[in-house]
């Protein structure tokens, strides 16, 4: 509780303070205008964050579900091996992983360079510095966060329940839609939470794989803190991001059924 509250309160109070950007001395001025100011100034980065984050989360869910399903139901004795393969990229630093992709996908890099040399792609074609690259990067980096909760949810399903559905005349499709999918909704929700929240706050992918047009709000917060030392602006942006994430989560929980959030966690 202590470790949760102290940074939280510090951040929220900072967002209401006015700071001298030279001496870095801040004092509480209850400057609520920080919030609308920041939204006005950075609305396109906010939009980028939400769009990229949502797209990446959607891609991750679409890719992870069949993957986790396959490992959980058909992985057999090699389940743990497959899980390890899924997690292996995690053992490399986040930044290094993303940088590696920027080398692989560079305009004259391994993939594009080769394709261009054999004239399969026009010379002006590029992947980096685009929204697509950022979304792909986020989706790649957060895939294990999506896959693992789904795997756990699928793995936990009693195989006899699946057999019972088959015994009660359910086709393969009906077994999935009537039994497996409803039983994994908590897992889907956990996956969404663990992917969407960090994804909208991500700045590494946008910084490395994107161009200046693809800046996400994470990049703005980072710059405000570390480059411009504008602590109050950075805090206000963070608070807004948090609010947006919470609204998104509650909206999503509503869509999945009017249950309480505790049921999922």
């Amino acid at each position: 509780m202590f470790f949760f509250l102290v940074p939280m309160v510090t951040m929220l109070s900072l967002s209401l303070q006015t700071c001298n950007q030279v001496t870095l001395a801040c004092h509480l001025t209850w400057s609520w205008s920080n919030f609308p100011d920041q939204i006005r100034q950075y609305h396109s980065q906010f939009a980028n964050s939400l769009v990229y984050g949502s797209l990446a989360t959607a891609i991750d869910l679409a890719v992870s579900y069949p993957l986790a399903y396959w490992i959980a139901f058909y992985g057999g004795r090699r389940k743990n091996f497959f899980l390890l393969m899924l997690l292996l990229p995690f053992f490399v630093s986040f930044v290094i992983r993303t940088l590696t992709w920027s080398f692989i996908l560079a305009d004259q890099g391994l993939v594009l360079g080769t394709l261009k040399r054999i004239h399969l792609l026009p010379g002006s074609f590029h992947v980096l510095a685009s929204g697509t690259a950022v979304v792909a990067g986020i989706a790649y980096n957060y895939l294990p966060f999506t896959a693992l909760p789904l795997y756990v949810a699928l793995e936990r399903i009693d195989r006899r329940v699946v057999e019972a559905a088959g015994d009660l005349y359910a086709s393969r499709i009906a077994v999935f839609t009537r039994v497996i999918l409803p039983l994994t909704i908590p897992g889907i929700f956990a996956s969404f939470l663990l992917t969407f929240v960090p994804a909208i706050g991500d700045y590494v992918n946008a910084a490395i794989l994107g161009g200046t047009n693809n800046y996400m709000i994470g990049n703005v917060i980072q710059d405000s803190f570390l480059v411009y030392s504008n602590y109050s602006a950075a805090s206000a942006l963070s608070a807004i991001l948090m609010a947006v994430a919470l609204i998104g989560i509650f909206a999503y929980a509503r869509v999945l059924g009017g249950r309480t959030i505790e049921e999922y966690i």
């Binding site: 009693d158 329940v161 057999e163 019972a164 015994d167 009660l168 005349y169 039983l183």
Partner: protein, 377 residues
Amino acid sequence: MGASGEIDVRLDRVSKRFADTTAVDDLTLEVERGEFFSLLGPSGCGKTTTLRMIGGFEEPTEGTIELGGRDVTDLPPYRRDVNTVFQSYALFPHLTVFENVAFGLRRKKVSKAEVDRRVKESLVLVDLPGYERRKPSQLSGGQQQRVAVARALVNQPKLLLLDEPLGALDLKLRKQMQLELKRIQQEVGITFLYVTHDQEEAMTMSNRLAVMRHGKIEQIGAPEEVYDSPATEFVAGFLGASNLLEGEVKEVAGGIARVLVDGGAVLRVPEARMHGRGVSRVRVGVRPEKIRLVADEGEASSARNSVTGTLRVATYIGVSHQFTVDGPGGRTLTVYQQNMGTDPIPAPGSGVRLEWEPEHTFAVRPSEPLAEWEEEQ
């Protein structure tokens, strides 16, 4: 409703092999329509695999399975006129009791009104009306059990498979559910194929039962038959306590075999109860409650089988006395004697005579020694 003579389930030389083990070994079995038939055996004997092959969850490696005269060996579960009550029930945790029971009917696109009617009916049958809106997690083990039975029976299958359905219940509830299941079976009149490792459960409920071991059937018959005239040493030991004495067959005449047991006595065994005919070394057995224990004095009645021994332990259980006797050939014998309060109880250490009727005697085929996991049962 008893058996009708018509064959409902026929397994013909069915085997099931997994990677390196043979779970079911060349098994042939017929179950009649309307029968309550049990597959009884220790865990790992192949009884559940047999049931799963009949249900369509496993494919036999060899052999054919017929249901109601139709070869269903290659049909998936949902194309068979069979429903299963699973071990630990396998209720759908996200659905209400009503939706659990209605699941099969909805898949078969039965009209809404009829789903309603039939679900209500089957909940009445299992004595759970009014529980429609509950979730499985809000029910006790016994209630979940009833829902599982209703969920299967509502589809009106020709055959109901039950895989250790009472295994998770405590003893008192289990006894109650045994009677309940028996009542339901009599009410709906369909064939029940029941898998259990509990010999008492199998005996109370079944019309006939098959005792299985190592993927094979050791004996099939009515409970009384299997209990009173076990075919093998394993069956004798698995269905209650038994006393076995080793001996040599001396002569067979007039439907009676005379066996000289190691240690002296000659015992008479009805020929019909001589399993494993043609062997000269046999094991002769008698159930502990069939024996009368008396002080070793006076003349033994020539009409009865009798052996002498030394009383080791006398245990008073209230409803009965239990005696442990060192018998002929160094064998330990057990005797249960009803507490009539009339007979004097011999003192431990004294010589006693055990007497019983020749028709209560049986001879079994020897079995391989019991593995540790079988003794635990």
